[in-house]
Symmetry: C2
Subunit: 165 residues, 2 copies
């Protein structure tokens, strides 16, 4: 899957900072590099861990501040999958960035295509007057690996009390 080189995005980030009159520090470069070298959806904690692996000891505050800049530069997208923390993903590849398959077994996230979105947004605008700006689609379930491991999902709680109303 050729998605270009992480370095290219680090250079773009450097350019963004220059345009904004902000310095490119070693810490900013390191955080950006971690994100641009991974195809995953990383949490601030994941990033700190990977930095540690690389022998970099960078404060959480700096990581968060750099993530802000990366998001503002549009090179990185912030996600909230309702886990209690946020995840960050670079935009090096042209894959859709707001349509996710989320495995309830292992937590892994993949993108998928949903060509019907534009038509749905057009219908909403036409029928309700709501003006769509951005969207988010998540499908939670089980990836093939977790199914192979024999995992299964069931509705928890009582068996649909709604039916008996």
């Amino acid at each position: 899957m050729p998605t270009g080189s992480p370095d290219a995005l680090v250079r773009l980030f450097s350019r963004y900072l220059k345009e904004q009159g902000l310095p490119l520090t070693h810490q900013r470069e390191a955080v950006a590099s971690v994100l641009f070298s991974s195809e995953a959806h990383l949490s601030a904690d994941d990033i700190e861990g990977e930095l540690r692996t690389r022998q970099e000891r960078i404060g959480k505050a700096t990581i968060y501040r750099t993530l802000d800049l990366l998001v503002k530069s549009n090179l990185v997208v912030e996600h909230d999958f309702g886990e209690g923390f946020k995840r960050y993903e670079h935009r090096l590849s042209p894959r859709p960035v707001n349509q996710h398959l989320i495995c309830q077994g292992c937590g892994r996230v993949e993108e998928f295509e949903m060509p019907e979105i534009p038509a749905v947004e057009a219908r909403i605008a036409r029928e309700s007057g709501f003006k769509p700006h951005r969207h988010r689609v998540e499908i939670h379930g089980l990836c093939t690996a977790c199914q192979a491991d024999g995992l299964a999902l069931s509705q928890d709680g009582i068996v649909c009390p709604i039916e008996v109303a």
Copy 2:
């Protein structure tokens, strides 16, 4: 929009508690009643405020503990719209519960229909082997009222640096 009576759901909740061998307390009834009387997506704070209006002074801890029970009973659904806190909605009406229009101006949430979802899930299962279990679709934008107030949304940050990669 006839959605049945809040009392019917309070009774169902009472029954759920009985089945679990748990007592129906005054506080539980009050929290459930607030939720079942509203068509909105309420935060724990909203619920506390409405209880205060009703002259009920119920601790946040009890509200959260009751919300847990309501969610477990399947009478209430928990949502996380990435606002930093959760919202809760009852399931008295048969409206879709996982497809939301979210106004970026006033924060109001409405449901919408998306009949193409089953076909999308079927396609995913067929093409990737991922087994869909539940979904969430959000479209963020501006409601008609906020558009009328002259609000507009723009992309922030620099103009898509991706293009120049």
